[in-house]
């Protein structure tokens, strides 16, 4: 195989070994096991070993299986959208803002709609920060307004308009039935309708979010698990500076 073509690795290069776990509405017997095997076959999996068959009752059965996938990935073709601005420390960012923007950046943040998981947005915004990295409230260059939990989109936009915000920070943690996609889309659509979309940066975050997805949803940037205020602050400062020089 070509060097850029890769497959999963078990114990021999490119052996394609993967583990699967799933439930099917079948009985916990040879027929059920065969259904599990058929499913994997259809997914391009070979040398299938359905090694665990657990009766979940009520007509369902849980399967654990190992197998060899025929899928390959050409890593030379992988393109990922990532936030590529440099990451600066709090002091550096404050210095950068002072020198390049000469103003205090206002950001308004919230967990929107039904979401009440504030720990993530607090980690970015609150004084205390997260994992020994201070939040935006502690930055001299930022005026950070955190509206907290379950804020309706309308309210967030209203506040952003009032405060003449440079950026909006939205957190979405609950993702069941893609509620986060719905909520984030709603916010952007309202912002467009109100003519706010281009007046400020729209940034979202949450454990199931990526920059890629954020862009797709019409945001300027997205931050996932393990983000820090330093990432977000640097991104905002640098992007605002660059925009002002376009």
């Amino acid at each position: 195989m070509k060097k850029n073509i890769i497959r999963p690795y078990g114990d021999t290069s490119n052996d394609g070994k993967m583990q699967f776990s799933f439930s099917l509405p079948v009985s916990a017997d040879e027929r059920g096991k065969e259904a599990a095997r058929q499913l994997l076959l259809q997914m391009g999996v070979d040398e299938i070993d359905v090694c665990s068959v657990r009766d979940l009752k009520e007509g369902y059965t849980h399967f654990i299986a190992y197998g060899t996938t025929s899928a390959v990935v050409d890593i030379s073709k992988i393109k990922v959208k990532t936030v590529d601005t440099d990451v600066m420390s709090m002091e550096e960012t404050d210095e950068y803002i002072k020198e390049n923007l000469g103003k205090i950046i206002t950001v308004v943040g919230a967990c929107i709609e039904s979401d009440a998981h504030t720990v993530g947005i607090d980690a970015i915004m609150n004084m205390k920060g997260y994992n020994h990295r201070y939040g935006l409230e502690r930055y001299q260059g930022f005026n950070a307004i955190n509206l907290g939990a379950q804020v309706p989109c309308e309210e967030l936009l209203k506040k952003a308009r009032e405060e003449k915000a440079d950026a909006i920070l939205v957190s979405q943690v609950v993702t069941q039935k893609n509620i986060h996609i719905k909520n984030l889309t709603r916010l952007i659509e309202l912002a467009e309708a109100e003519g706010l979309r281009d007046k400020m940066l729209f940034i979202c975050g949450g454990p199931r979010l990526s920059h890629e997805l954020a862009i797709e949803l019409g945001y300027d940037a997205g931050f996932g698990t393990g983000s820090y205020a330093t990432d977000v602050a640097s991104y905002i400062a640098i992007t605002l500076f660059e925009q002002s020089h376009k």
């Binding site: 776990s21 799933f22 439930s23 657990r54 979940l56 009752k57 009520e58 369902y60 849980h62 709609e113 039904s114 979401d115 009440a116 720990v119 939990a149 379950q150 609950v174 993702t175 069941q176 039935k177 509620i179 454990p207 698990t225």
Partner: protein, 519 residues
């Protein structure tokens, strides 16, 4: 036997302060009522259903009275008076109010003693039904045997009550003792309880009376088949706390999430509204023989489990005292505790063991509700499964009352069918493996565990003493709890709290007080 040597003086002081804190709310409990309490009364009188636009009749009646500035007499009196005037049932009265045909405040007071008699009859009927449900539960436990200790508690949270039933039944067959139907996000901030069977919730399924009924029926079916009584639980919490307690009592739920301060701190519900509502809702629970469960775990989802361990202890003691005020016996106080310790911490198990023993020994008769790791659960399901195993180990070792099983997918999604099954397998394996381990062990003299437990107790004691001194409402306003500031008159739902008239009547409150032997 693992036994702490707790400083008895601290225990006594801590309890005294908690008691003082609870005692200081008699003005609120005696003189005030709330829209949710009134709606609860209406529900207990038999009013159910909703208008076409979804507005539940209890809200319709209550709002009607409120708009007429008549609520201070208590909603029940007006309905009973209307029943007397019209000869209709409470439900029919409510429907007529809903259709605009009836103005409850416009009816004459023909014979107040007849009105009171109606109230007596209606409330006696309701309580008889609740008593029947309680006896049924007791009989089931009698027949099939008591719940295991710790009981296996799992959640279902598909958002669709019919899927929930499938998952709940499967879990019961696999060994679950208690099924919790998690509520849809943000239901706690709704100032009404949705009506009917629901299939669209996010992160959970709406708590409605019909959903309660559907799930109860499903579980009753399995209970019979597997000869084990499967308990059902939901959330008597949020702006509709007492209403949901009443629905649970009527539909034979067996436990209820019901915390004195959770709504204030974590949902920004007004402090007075919350404390008042919990007072009445707990009476319902007490009367119905429903085990309450408190929400101390929530402190640790946002604060550090070591640093803020004392807040758990303090809150347990406060919840205990408030529970006593509503007639709940220790055997029905599922005080909360959580295994939210950082797995990267050295001796995390040892710390947790100290905390778990502390809870157990402070409340030896309480079926402590022990919550699993959530905060440090990550997308690495294999690791999370191990953390859950340590949690199950300690639950069995220290004999906690109810083990809320952790799921290996905690950080990813609400549980899939297989996740729950693997969680039950995890618990069953651990419970069996360390079944009688405790009897083999004792604490070494001068152990860190004993020291740690006493130091948490000491911190809790000083904290409670300070709060008792200052007053709970002031302490909350200052951010003493969970670092969150909750001013006395802030938060949602304050407008629903009102001063009772001298003519105010709530037949249930009166009967509960008598039956539960509260002064």
């Amino acid at each position: 036997m693992l036994r702490l040597d707790l400083n008895a003086d601290l225990v006594q002081r801590a309890r005294a302060s908690a008691s003082k804190i609870a005692d200081s709310f008699s003005w609120l409990f005696e003189d005030y009522s709330s829209v949710s309490i009134e709606r609860t009364v209406l529900r207990l009188m038999g009013i159910d259903g909703a208008l076409k636009d979804g507005e539940p009749l209890p809200n319709v009646v209550c709002d009607h009275l409120k708009s007429k500035q008549a609520l201070n007499r208590g909603a029940s009196w007006f309905v009973a008076n209307a029943m007397h005037n019209t000869g209709l049932s409470a439900q029919e009265v409510a429907e007529k109010v809903g259709s605009g045909e009836l103005d409850l405040t416009a009816l004459p007071v023909k014979d107040n003693s007849r009105v009171l008699a109606i109230l007596d009859k209606v409330s006696t009927d309701a309580l008889a039904h609740i008593t029947k449900q309680r006896k049924h539960r007791d009989a089931q436990f009698e027949e099939y045997g008591a719940r295991r200790i710790p009981a296996i508690y799992v959640i279902v949270a598909t958002g669709n009550i019919y899927e929930d039933v499938v998952q709940a039944k499967a879990a019961a067959r696999e060994g679950a003792d208690i099924i919790a139907v998690i509520r849809s996000t943000a239901q706690s901030l709704l100032d009404y309880v949705p009506y009917g069977a629901t299939t669209v919730g996010f992160g959970g399924t709406y708590a409605t009376q019909e959903n309660f009924r559907i799930m109860r029926a499903g579980l009753d079916e399995v209970s019979q088949e597997i000869k084990r009584y499967i308990s059902l639980t939901n959330y008597a919490s949020g702006l509709c706390m007492p209403e949901i307690a009443a629905m649970g009592a009527l539909e034979r739920l067996d436990l209820m999430l019901n915390d004195a301060m959770y709504g204030i701190l974590f949902r920004d519900i007004n402090p007075k509204r919350t404390l008042l509502d919990q007072y009445f809702s707990r009476m319902i629970n007490a009367y119905a023989g429903i085990e309450i469960q408190t929400g101390e775990d929530n402190y640790l989802t946002t604060s550090d489990a070591i640093e803020k361990a004392y807040t758990v202890t303090a809150s347990q003691l406060i919840n205990e005292q408030f529970a006593y005020k509503s007639g709940i016996k220790p055997q029905k106080m599922g005080l909360g505790h959580a295994h939210e310790i950082d797995p990267e911490l050295e001796n995390s198990f040892t710390f947790e063991l100290a905390h778990a023993l502390l809870t157990k020994e402070l409340f030896p008769d309480a079926p402590v509700k022990y919550m699993p790791p959530t905060k440090f659960a990550s997308g690495n399901v294999f690791k999370t499964h191990l953390m859950d195993a340590m949690f199950n180990f300690i639950g069995q070792l220290t004999g906690q009352g109810v083990q809320l099983l952790g799921m290996m997918t905690e950080a990813i999604h609400t549980p899939h069918l297989a996740d729950r099954s693997l969680a039950i397998e995890n618990a069953q394996y651990l419970f069996k493996a360390v079944k009688d381990l405790n009897a083999n062990l004792c604490l070494a003299p001068g152990s860190f565990i004993n020291e740690r437990a006493n130091s948490v107790l000491a911190e809790a004691t000083s904290f409670l003493e300070a709060v008792a001194e200052e007053g709970l409402l002031k302490a909350m306003a200052r951010g003493d709890f969970a670092d969150i500031k909750r001013p006395e008159n802030g938060g949602k739902g304050l407008e629903g709290v009102f001063l009772k008239d001298s003519s105010y009547i709530n037949p249930f409150l009166i009967k509960f007080k008598t039956e539960l032997e509260l002064q």
